[in-house]
């Protein structure tokens, strides 16, 4: 079992949800998060000098897949839906899962 965590642009949340549904993945957890990437935020120039905004709005999508063969299709679907080609498109992290317990049926 794997957990796939994707940090994406907020406006790409709906396309990513649709893409995941398209490959049969329905269970997801969505969190609105703040963060920065390798560029360390955005730099702006104002009349009084430069300043950096390093807490940018992002959306975190977490998917748990019971069948490891779904790993690559999920990653492909997220990339296809969330990519704009510009900095700030986000990251995908794949984690192993130690235990996976459904609350209702235990």
């Amino acid at each position: 079992m794997k957990m796939i965590v994707a940090i994406i642009r907020p406006e790409m949340c709906q396309p990513v949800k649709d893409a995941l549904k398209g490959i049969g993945v329905n269970g997801i957890t969505i969190t609105h998060v703040l963060g920065r990437g390798s560029q360390a935020g955005l730099k702006f120039t104002s009349r009084v000098g430069e300043f950096v905004v390093d807490e940018l709005d992002k959306t975190k999508v977490e998917v748990i897949i019971e069948d490891d063969s779904l790993e690559q299709p999920v990653i492909d679907a997220i990339i296809k839906a969330a990519e704009t080609g510009k900095p700030g498109d986000g990251r995908i992290i794949v984690l192993p899962i130690e235990k996976f317990i459904r609350i209702r049926s235990e």
Binding site: P10, E11, L42, F44, S46, L56
Partner: protein, 418 residues
């Protein structure tokens, strides 16, 4: 209404009427509160990253419009008998009287102050259309030029004895064309020039519904001064205007609610407040001229018309009028101006102008021409101003600035800590 409007003065000419003086002072204060109300109304409907940006823009609009109005705007709007523009007789508010004269029951300084509030509110309404994409400094320059090149001529044409008064049979009680059509079309012109916001910003939801509600309440509250004060005396016309304003607002809100319920299956705060504003806008030009039953009709039609206008502009056009300023103020104002031409009752109108339903045709023709002229003039002139400014400075925020929000990138003051 005329420039030195004796329209409905019930008292003896030239006699100071402290009741009227106090009512116009109170009305001025009521209209003033609409401007900060707009900051809450608009700010609440935008993303949380744009809240203090909207407050700052509204405050600077108060500053800019007050100064230009005092220095030159009032004089250009309300002096002389020029067709296009007035003269400099009242520059810096010179030669204004602090005691009653010229047949009005209050005085000219008070009238200039009351009209200043209209100029401020009109400017503030524009901000909602082009929110979240025009740079702050650009907006300041735009408003300064616009107040002289667009607002002052418009006020002169309608109320100052200019173009419309000279060549047309036109009624505009409290500013349907000068304030609402003008603001809506100006917003549209800026949006046409600068373009849409990014998909992310466009699809964002209102961040604070209670603020939007509070702002709407300030607007509704202020509107009693906006329409009631436009009688320019504490008299029956003022009472009539206030009563029909309430009726039209409630009718439009109810009409919006019913249509939204039928179409969408539910009713919410943002729909109800847009409906109320649509009714208030539509009754504005007609408030002193139509019967109570007509105000019911005007309100009901305004609610329905503006609902479909909002849905049309949102779904069928690429225009990104952020807060539906044209769909509500523009379309509502156009309907109100036409409705004045339909329902004006010569028994109520001092100059005995009759609407179409009372057998008059001059008025409806005049109203239609005035609406068309207002739309063409405000669009062309506003577009020219923003184009001119773009030759000297950057007009639009960058994509990154828009994403992070103007609160931070332009003002360094986010409205909320998180």
């Amino acid at each position: 209404m005329l420039s030195i409007p004796g329209a409905t003065a019930a008292t003896v000419e030239g006699t100071e009427d402290s009741g009227s003086i106090s009512w116009i002072l109170v009305s001025s204060a009521l209209v003033f509160i609409m401007a900060p109300g707009i900051a809450l109304f608009y700010g609440g409907m935008l993303r949380k990253q744009s809240m203090s940006s909207m407050i700052t823009q509204t405050l600077i609009a108060i500053g800019v419009m007050t100064l230009t109005w005092v220095i030159i705007g009032y004089s250009l709007a309300f002096s002389g008998d020029g067709t296009i523009i007035g003269n400099l007789q009242y520059m810096l508010m010179n030669n204004l009287s602090e005691s009653a004269e010229n047949g009005i029951t209050s005085n000219t300084l008070e009238f200039a102050f009351y009209q200043m509030m209209f100029a401020i509110v009109t400017a503030a309404i524009v901000l909602g259309a082009c929110a979240e994409r025009v740079r702050y400094t650009t907006m300041v320059w735009f408003l300064a030029l616009w107040s002289i090149l667009v607002y002052a001529p418009m006020a002169h044409w309608v109320w100052g004895g200019g173009l419309f008064a000279q060549y047309l049979t036109v009624l505009d009680f409290a500013g349907g064309t000068v304030v609402h059509i003008c603001a809506g079309v100006t917003g549209l012109a800026i949006v046409a020039f600068v373009g849409s916001r990014s998909m992310r910003t466009r699809s964002a939801r209102a961040h604070n519904i209670p603020f939007a509600f509070l702002g709407c309440v300030f607007l509704w509250f202020g509107w009693f001064g906006f329409n009631g004060g436009s009688a320019l005396a504490a008299n029956g016309t003022a009472v009539h205007a206030v009563v029909v304003s309430q009726i039209a607002a409630a009718c439009a809100m109810m009409a919006w609610a019913v249509i939204q319920y039928i179409q969408v299956g539910r009713v919410g705060v943002l729909g109800l407040i847009a409906g109320a504003i649509a009714g208030l806008v539509a009754i504005t030009p007609a408030a002193g001229y139509v019967d109570i039953w007509a105000s019911l009709v005007i309100g009901l039609v305004a609610g329905g018309l503006c609902y479909f206008a909002v849905s049309f502009f949102r779904n069928k056009t690429k225009i990104d009028d952020a807060l539906d300023v044209f769909a509500v103020h523009g379309v509502g104002g156009i309907w109100g101006a036409i409705a004045t031409g339909l329902f004006a009752n010569p028994a109520i109108v001092t100059d005995k102008y009759a609407g179409l339903f009372y057998g008059g045709t001059d008025l409806i023709v005049g109203q239609l021409i005035a609406v068309a002229v207002t739309i063409v003039f405000c669009f062309a002139m506003s577009y020219a101003i923003i184009w001119l400014i773009s030759k000297f400075m950057r007009v639009r925020v960058t994509e990154e600035e828009e994403m992070v929000g103007q609160d931070l990138t332009e003002h360094g003051e986010p409205a909320y800590l998180m």
